[in-house]
């Protein structure tokens, strides 16, 4: 081989290696990097399920919040956030600490829409609210990167828990538990243990679609569905449909990290200085996983997946072991989609969308977040702006 040819070969090899290292990060709604061809095929087929629009003729309802997964999770791409706000209810018994999700009265998800057949039978436009229930509103988050959150071992969540605040830092995170005792992580109250269960449950609770995982229809305010209102035989979606939907959500890539400006880097520093990072942990690690793209990965989720007391001002409903004022540390990954929303509806933050800006959301932190809120308030205007710039880059 001539010297020129050898140089050319070396340069070509170098370019190939360089290109591999500089592969474009996934855009919102695209799959994780490193999926096998088979996993990628499942993702693509799952996306078709996620975007499938149901009708009463294919099982929708008779009570429901939406007719497709992607109807809510849509902005800025399929799997993103939505402007829909749900209604949840429960009843807290302060004397015993027991939280009743009011299942016998249709809780805890109160569906906001009904099929024409149910409307004709009962004359209602939404599932009735149980009397004396505590009513809470919940915005629709994006689900990008949730497969990575699912792959974080319980042991990692437990390792960050400090229910009795033994380190005396004023922060005492604790895990929530599902009704069967398993550690939860999904949902604003960290109720649901796994992503698959969250998705399978959503088919029933959000769309009224029965499946092998949830073979029975939801009630209407705790009462059975009137005869003849839903004639589609159960299950209304098969196991393959569930598996494909789960594959799509599981393989959705997290928001790609953005190159930080000088101001944003300063904001990241301030994020640590005011101790936001005590609950919004910048990174967690996944454990062993059958999917290589989910195995031993760093997840820049900015959450500890634990419950924290956020004070009486933010308190609404209880759920599982979570008291009315306890909320899971909201993952901040994907915050840029809310902050820079170009979809329908105005930007909104916190669990119920009461904050209209990131700064407002920070100032509404109470309870265990109060100390950081006060430190934030004490920053100079430029420093506060830098911190917010950083948050809006996540």
């Amino acid at each position: 081989m001539s010297r020129a040819a050898a140089t050319f070969a070396a340069l070509t090899l170098g370019a190939v290696i360089l290109c591999a290292g500089c592969a474009k990060p996934p855009k919102p709604g695209e799959p994780l990097v490193g999926l096998t061809p088979e996993e990628r095929a499942l993702f693509d087929r799952g996306k078709a399920r996620f975007t499938t629009v149901f009708t009463p003729g294919t099982g929708l309802g008779p009570t429901f919040n939406s007719d497709a997964c992607a109807e809510c999770h849509e902005d800025p791409a399929v799997g993103g956030r939505g402007d829909e706000v749900e209604v949840h209810v429960s009843a807290f018994m302060p004397e015993t600490g027991f939280c009743d999700p009011l299942v016998d009265k249709g809780g805890f998800v109160i569906e906001q829409k009904v099929t024409p057949a149910l409307h004709a039978a009962l004359g209602i436009d939404s599932e009735p609210l149980p009397p004396d229930a505590t009513v809470a509103h919940r915005t629709t988050p994006d689900v990008l990167g949730f497969g990575l959150l699912d792959a974080i071992p319980d042991s990692v969540i437990l390792a960050n828990a400090d229910p009795d605040d033994r380190n005396h830092d004023g922060i005492s995170g604790r895990p929530n538990r599902f009704f069967d005792g398993r550690i939860g992580r999904f949902g604003r109250k960290a109720l649901v243990p796994t992503l698959a269960e969250f998705n399978n449950g959503a088919y029933a609770a959000e769309m009224g679609i029965t499946s092998p995982a949830v073979p029975n229809e939801e009630t209407v305010g705790g009462q059975p569905i009137p005869a003849g209102v839903d004639s589609v035989p159960e299950p209304e979606i098969n196991q393959e449909g569930l598996d494909l939907t789960n594959a799509f959500v599981r393989f959705l890539a997290p928001p790609a990290p953005e190159k930080l400006s000088k101001v944003e880097k300063r904001g990241r520093q301030l994020f640590t200085e005011v101790r936001c990072n005590r609950c919004h942990l910048p990174a967690l690690w996944t454990g062993n996983n059958p999917v290589r793209a989910l195995r031993y990965k760093k997840v820049a989720a900015y959450t500890d997946l634990l419950l924290h007391d956020m004070g009486p001002e933010l308190a609404d409903m209880c759920l599982g072991q979570a008291s009315p004022s306890e909320f899971r540390t909201e993952p901040l990954m994907g915050l840029r989609f809310s902050a820079n929303s170009e979809g329908e509806g105005e930007a909104s933050f916190l669990h119920d969308g009461r904050a209209k800006t990131v700064e407002e959301a920070i100032r509404m932190h109470g309870g265990e977040g109060a100390a950081s809120r006060d430190k934030f308030a004490a920053l100079s205007e430029a420093e506060r702006a830098a911190l917010i710039k950083f948050l809006e880059s996540l």
């Binding site: 015993t96 299942v103 069967d180 969250f198 449950g201």
Partner: protein, 133 residues
């Protein structure tokens, strides 16, 4: 010699306890289904919603994700009840407690659907269920 037999006894106890724990944590739990045969026992991990000592009934909650379901169960007269590993009475089971129930459908009459009968109720310790997903 005596010391050796004590050690052996301890070891045997540990093995029996370990096997017992494995057997306790091993059964998969399943919510009642229409396909479940009358008399077929199953286990369910769930949260107690209500206890009625007079009628010997319990209401328990479990589900899948946000799709929760409520089950009413009769408590058999010979139901084995334990709280924290010690034998207990039905009135010791409080709302909000996470329990493991052994139950089975039993006939409720010629036209009525089978009712659920609990034959064992034990409180679940968090350390036991902590790592199970």
């Amino acid at each position: 010699m005596k010391r050796k037999s004590i050690s052996f006894g301890c070891l045997l106890t540990l093995v029996v306890l370990a096997l017992g724990f494995g057997a306790r944590s091993a059964p998969t739990t399943s919510a009642p289904t229409e396909a479940q045969a009358v008399g077929e026992p199953a286990y369910l991990n769930c949260t107690v919603r209500a206890v009625d000592v007079k009628t010997r009934t319990v209401e328990v909650i479990t589900g899948v994700g946000y799709a929760l379901r409520l089950y009413r169960m009769s408590v058999a007269p010979a139901c084995e009840i334990s709280v924290g590993g010690s034998a207990a009475e039905l009135n010791n089971i409080k709302p909000g407690t996470i329990v493991r129930v052994r139950y089975q459908p039993v006939p409720a009459g010629p036209k009525a659907p089978p009712r659920l009968m609990a034959s064992a109720i034990e409180t679940v310790s968090f350390s036991e269920s902590g790592g199970v997903r």
